[in-house]
Homo-oligomer: 152 residues x 2
């Protein structure tokens, strides 16, 4: 069976997972360090989703690292299906959270009056960008794994 | 070759496409009938995306209806791939637009002061719900077609 680069148990997948964890953590930190995020539903939602993405990606990064070290990738269709479905669900939720955050930040920036202090708004923007990057990597992971699935 | 229900050229797919067109048109109408939607980036984005989804879904509904009538479904892998990729891209964009609209409406409703007259806000909410329904049907279509793709 040919190896799909980026599927579970390869070093490319390990890098993707590490990137997801890093960007999701950065997004969470930039959002949580601002003190006003409880006032907006979209920001609370982003924090919740990032709290789900970080352990998921980190666990899979550990699995990938272990697979690369022992040179024995996971090839059980059941486990792979769970990973693919989990990736799809989480990447959809991440996209939703990133879009909500971006649109709320945009609205806060454009509204007249000083709703949003510039210091906080910049943080919110960086947080939204990090969430988009995390979504992109998560989407790539799930595509690669989905590609591998029919060949098992 | 076994028939996948919901893939291109079946009556289930025809219903899915009709539903997408209907919900996307409803979302567009509810948004455009409010007079203030130009002020918000998220609402303009929703209108743009719905303007893309409606012709796409309507064209594919026509193709499906024709295929059902002449009992000759499309089975060229190239065409199917274009349909799958187009569906994925449009469903991702629809999800992004629906989430942005929903979060902006939520922010407008919760902010103190009378930013949003109740009459308009209800319309915006209905528009967001319609966009979510359209996304759900579009996602279902693309999953069914993706399922068919490896068997060709």
């Amino acid at each position: 069976m040919d190896e799909v680069p980026g599927s579970v148990g390869t070093s490319a997948s390990f890098s993707l997972r590490l990137g997801q964890t890093m960007f999701a953590s950065a997004s969470l930190l930039f959002m949580s360090l601002g003190v006003e995020f409880y006032s907006y539903t979209a920001f609370c939602y982003l924090v919740t989703i990032m709290g789900l993405v970080i352990p998921w990606s980190f666990t899979l990064a550990l699995v990938d690292g272990y697979s690369v070290l022992v040179k024995c990738p996971i090839r059980q269709p059941g486990i792979l299906l769970i990973i693919v479905v989990g990736d799809w669900v989480l990447s959809t939720l991440t996209l939703a959270a990133a879009c909500s955050t971006a649109s709320v930040v945009n609205l806060l920036l454009n509204s007249h009056g000083s709703i949003c202090p510039p210091k906080f708004c910049n943080r919110y923007q960086i947080s939204a960008v990090m969430a988009f990057l995390s979504w992109f990597l998560s989407f790539a992971s799930s595509l690669f794994n989905l590609w591998l699935l029919p060949s098992l």
